[in-house]
Symmetry: C2
Subunit: 469 residues, 2 copies
């Protein structure tokens, strides 16, 4: 197992192919983010025709840089990469992140041959290759990144991804949800370092406690199975497999030229190793959020609290379809709830479909959440808010109610998850994003729909069940 710390924690980065066109892809994806995020290592821009860029000296070539370089990023056209790789070998560069595309993913003989050549030069020269056709490393704790728009706090999620776009999406969309990374890596065609290397790295990385992966193909099936089995014993692993259909498999070929493998084999692999498989990036984000924030429930029995008859029926259906249980409450608990919940137009049997005067009164809604959490026939409490309705009351009233539920959550022994449903309406989305901050500060995860919450909680419960075996 190689020590990849120089890749994830480089002390210096050279960016080859910076441009006098300020907004060029290479400037925008690599140089600017390092500067914006206050990268703590040294930055060496490289371009034979420039002297300075953004206040930094520009070097004519990698060979001209006077100090050792941990990591080189290539923004050059594919045809120039072999020459660069030879120079990197000569300069004893430890790793090259090849952002350049135009290799095997083109499906053309020329690109495939070029990729083979680059891999060969790198191997003989002792240079580790990331990519080609990738964005490389995101390590927010040291400001080493290709995406300045995410959270700058270091966290505990390790993400390995064959898609740069998916990596960027999880960084950007994860930030407001409280998803923070130990390290993320976009590794494209995986011609050099591959998914097995990254799983091994994350297994040993003490900062990484939850592992997520977007994988299109497996380079070394035996090694991967071994690595997945090993890491999944210690850390939850969430995997999105790209290319699960015929058309998806073809798309994988033109994206990273990976061999997608059959869906059935993949399902079996996840079942055997205990990795949790998801079907899209939203579910991946939900699962990562859950493993990061939710205290693991002892079982799959949920208490559901909210308002609205249709919403309660849907919540119950969503929970059970996702593999959770929504057991009926016993008579004593129903009596306690009924003491302050009118019987007209409400339900208290689980789900609790409460009345407006309870839903909008902090003491009563808090009491509802607290009472159901104390029933020993349930393992997790799910409280729903509908920002659609709240829009008529205003965000302040919603915040007050959220605060009441957070207050209940702090004193309960069961895990609490909050659902803020917006039906996709812009005004409601704004309110939801405000109250999400409240919940995250208190350590409670927020989901946009009950269905997504239930699927995510099923992942953590299933993971825990397997560990107990």
């Amino acid at each position: 197992m190689p020590d990849l710390d120089f890749i994830f924690n480089p002390k210096s980065v050279a960016i080859v192919g910076v441009s006098s066109v300020t907004d060029s892809l290479t400037n925008r994806n690599f140089l600017k983010p390092l500067l914006d995020c206050g990268y703590q290592g040294k930055i060496y821009p490289v371009n034979p025709h420039m002297a300075e860029i953004m206040g930094l000296r520009v070097y004519r070539s990698v060979l001209e840089i006077p100090e050792p370089v941990d990591s080189v990023v290539s923004g050059l056209p594919a045809s120039l990469v072999p020459k660069l790789m030879r120079e990197c070998a000569e300069a004893k560069v430890k790793a090259v992140t090849c952002f350049s595309a135009g290799f095997s993913e083109t499906g053309e003989a020329e690109g495939t041959e070029l990729e083979r050549e680059v891999v060969d030069i790198a191997r003989r020269g002792g240079v580790r290759l990331l990519g080609p056709n990738c964005l490389g490393v995101h390590n927010p704790a040291i400001g080493c990144t290709f995406e300045a728009g995410g959270s700058r706090r270091g966290g505990h999620v390790g993400f390995l991804s064959q898609s740069g776009g998916n990596t960027r999406e999880l960084i950007l969309a994860g930030a407001p949800r409280g998803i923070c990374f130990s390290k993320a890596v976009s590794y494209g065609n995986a011609a050099g370092l591959d998914e097995t290397d990254f799983l091994d790295y994350f297994a040993r990385d003490p900062d990484t406690r939850v592992v997520a992966a977007y994988i299109e193909g497996i380079k070394r099936p035996q090694g991967f199975t071994r690595a997945l089995r090993a890491i999944a014993r210690d850390k939850p692993v969430v995997i999105l497999k790209g290319g699960r259909t015929e058309a998806g498999t073809r798309a994988v070929m033109s994206h990273t030229s990976s061999l997608a493998g059959s869906e059935r084999v993949w399902d079996a692999l996840c079942r055997q190793t205990g990795a949790r498989q998801v079907t899209d990036m939203a579910e991946l984000a939900d699962a990562v959020l859950t493993f990061s924030y939710l205290k693991p429930p002892r079982g799959r029995r949920a208490a559901v609290v909210g308002i609205g008859g249709g919403a309660s029926v849907q919540a119950a259906d969503d929970c059970e379809k996702a593999g959770l249980l929504v057991p009926p409450f016993p008579p004593e608990l129903r009596r306690e709830l009924r003491a302050f919940t009118t019987s007209a137009g409400t339900g208290i049997a689980n789900p609790v479909d409460t009345s407006p005067d309870v839903y909008w009164e902090p003491a009563l809604y808090r009491e509802t959440a607290k009472l159901v959490s104390e029933y020993d026939g349930i393992d997790v409490v799910l409280v729903m808010f509908a920002a659609v309705q709240a829009a008529k009351r205003g965000v302040q009233e919603l915040k007050r109610q959220i605060e009441a539920v957070i207050d209940a959550g702090r004193s309960m022994s069961k895990p609490l998850a909050v659902i803020v449903f917006t039906a996709g309406m812009v005004e409601a989305e704004k309110m939801a994003s405000e109250v999400q901050v409240q919940c995250l500060e208190a350590g409670f995860p927020v989901y946009p729909t009950m269905g997504r919450a239930a699927r995510a909680i099923n992942h953590i419960v299933s993971y825990s069940e397997r560990r107990k075996l």
Copy 2:
């Protein structure tokens, strides 16, 4: 089959139980929306202890109203409804919408008995009963509604729903998406008029071209099957069945005291009649949108255009999982696309994963959409935008690109659907809602994810296929 026009197009509405507390539920749900939406009929507020409300004379009882009343809304406590119903019978009121809850849905003998009494009085007195435990009728064309926040334009969607919350949600969340109603009705416990009556009404209503339903239970199975079979032959019907699991079935009991019936029987009913079954309100809205806006595709072969390798793989997987096909493009078409699409880091085999310089150049992105639409091996064109990426460019550039695609859509013979993906980020949601307006004005539906678009399009294709049989 009763003529229910006096329910959906009442010439006068009496609201019993208006309150001096301005923001009371009855005032807010009924009186205020009628005033806000400029209801064209007469409004008679009723309360024995008030003289005037919001500039209208208040009557002491229904019996005091000097003219005939089509529709009475009851906001009274359940125990007072029998007396009201007797007065309505005496005053020859045609229909009563019973907003009041506290009947059979309480699961208590008292409420069940009260409901039986009210039904009995109504039947003997020749008064049609809507509810109890419901919001009643939404007819935007005449301003008769319980929800002023939706679109005020009359449209072609008829919605029957046992949940008031779900009705409100489709009205509110549907408005920015361009979903407009001929009529919607929330009918709660269905103790009087039921789903069969409404299906029959929508079958004959010329304004209704698409029918949507949220149903928790069937009162008259034989009549319902007959009505569903009849209407589904002429108009697309989209059904969300509440209570498809054990917990959902129990929730249905405390919501509308309906007998949910087994999921298997329900699936078979939809298969036999050609009704399209959906699993949540989001899918219901997507399907209704599609039946309202998308020119029916001749088949299920989709051309997919967008940017991003991971996104393209996901799009292909989503389409095929939903039942669409994403056939590979022939060599001639690939050559045409390749003429202006660099081979590095792109795909042109379907999905098209284009390069940034095509994606952000109106003429080239328009040409891409146009070229793929002309291939006779595809039936529908799906163009993806990611507002997450666009957030870095700004909304103006995104709008320009959308305009280019709309332009291509106008001249193509195949239907076009637009996907604007936001990953749930607030800034991106704002941009998406702006460009949604553009697309709708041009008549093209917008979906938030490829998965949702594909499932919705599968509904319209499957519906068309069945009609051809």
